[in-house]
């Protein structure tokens, strides 16, 4: 068992040592968001995926690549919005740069968006049909199946 574990660990260390990261994005300061701005976004007429995250949140880091992939796949038909809560501008910008998040992100230090939309903790992902109707709220790390299914739901309502 020890030999097996040592072999596996050695393989993992070798592979991970070879990992290269892409060039960091230049991220401007995140604009603040309040109730009026949120209402305006939700009434835009597009289906919306709104993800509440924070740079200190480990599960948020875990789901960031999935959201980025979803934006690449559906970004032309669905509006993706990120809301960084209870965080600092510097950490938030570093998080966006590290994960290459290309959709619009807003800064909400007090967490008012989450308080208004409902939900506990981070991450939370909200799915809005065109017109602003909340179709589904997912607490915690979202998986590919749930994300794809709910995007299909808001695209066809």
């Amino acid at each position: 068992m020890r030999r097996f574990a040592a072999t596996m660990l050695g393989t993992i260390l070798t592979v991970t040592a070879c990992v290269t990261t892409s060039a960091p994005l230049e991220v401007p300061a995140l604009p603040p968001i309040d109730d009026a701005a949120l209402s305006s976004l939700l009434e835009s007429g597009d289906p919306i995926v709104l993800n509440v995250w924070a740079s200190w949140c480990i599960p948020c880091r875990s789901e960031a690549p999935l959201l980025s992939a979803a934006y690449e796949a559906f970004g032309d038909r669905v509006s993706f919005i990120g809301v960084d809560i209870e965080d600092t501008q510097e950490d938030a910008r570093q998080f966006i740069s590290e994960h290459g998040l290309e959709f619009d992100n807003y800064f909400d230090r007090a967490g008012t968006v989450r308080a208004n939309l409902g939900g506990v903790g981070v991450p939370i992902t909200y799915f809005f049909a065109p017109g602003g109707e909340l179709v589904y709220r997912h607490n915690g790390v979202i998986d590919e199946r749930t994300l794809s299914l709910q995007i299909d739901e808001i695209l066809n309502r």
Binding site: T16, P59, L66, E144, T146, L149, N156
Partner: protein, 233 residues
């Protein structure tokens, strides 16, 4: 805190355990090894870790700088590398008699996969692409009816598990049942993938590779001049 993934995993482990128990009752599992359940659990954990690390690497997250992310299984597990990780563990654990050992655990592995897919009822991820079939379901509050894709998969894996059990009692050439199970599992995933919601086309290359490998290994096991797994009865 959300435990739906854990319930699905427990259902998978329960199905695996029940099939091993059935195999033992039918006299298909040798009494000299009492740790088949532990071996399969070890393979499952190895597969999860390998698949999770592969998924992290493929999405640009370094497991060395973010080790805590490895336990976030919901963040994604790469199917192909998970299968390889599980197989590597089984190769290590069974060593000398790998084809025969894989034959013996094939029904249980297929049953475990059935349990995992059936666990969608806890996770709320049973539904797939839209469908007008009479048995199609809709999300709560939605008028869009959909294929219960994961339920289809679960039933197909249950049928495959009992098929493997049937073959295990009749075919004694080592490796045939396991190779057939590999091809069947790949086929089930491949045929259900188009009705499964995903961001792309899914890991269809892994499934195709599994099917081809299963077919080649089945033919090789039949053609190879090796002694039978157990004496003919």
């Amino acid at each position: 805190m959300e435990f739906t993934l854990l319930w699905a995993a427990l259902l998978a482990v329960g199905a695996l355990w029940m099939m091993l128990r059935l195999e033992r009752r039918l006299g298909l599992l040798p009494d000299d090894r009492s740790d088949w359940f532990d071996t399969l659990l070890g393979a499952a954990v190895s597969g999860l870790v390998a698949g999770r690390i592969a998924a992290m690497l493929l999405t640009g997250t370094n497991p060395l700088t973010h080790p805590a992310d490895i336990i976030l299984i919901r963040g994604g597990v790469d199917t192909g590398f998970a299968s390889i990780g599980a197989l590597v563990f089984l190769v290590w654990a069974t060593r000398r008699s790998l084809p025969a050992a894989l034959d013996l655990v094939s029904p249980a592995v297929l049953a475990g996969l059935a349990g995992w897919h059936g666990g969608c009822v806890f996770r709320g991820t049973c539904l797939g692409t839209r469908s007008e079939f009479p048995w199609a379901f809709a999300e709560p509050g939605s008028a869009l009816t959909r294929h219960p894709t994961e339920i289809y998969s679960a039933f197909l894996f249950v049928a495959a598990a009992f098929g493997a059990l049937f073959l295990l009692r009749r075919i004694t050439r080592p490796g045939v049942v396991a190779a057939g199970a590999l091809a069947t599992a790949g086929t089930i995933r491949l045929v259900t993938e188009p009705i499964r919601p995903s961001l792309g086309s899914g890991p269809i290359w892994w499934y195709t590779t599994g099917i081809l490998a299963g077919i080649v290994l089945t033919a090789a096991a039949f053609l190879r001049q090796t002694p039978n797994r157990r004496p003919e009865t």
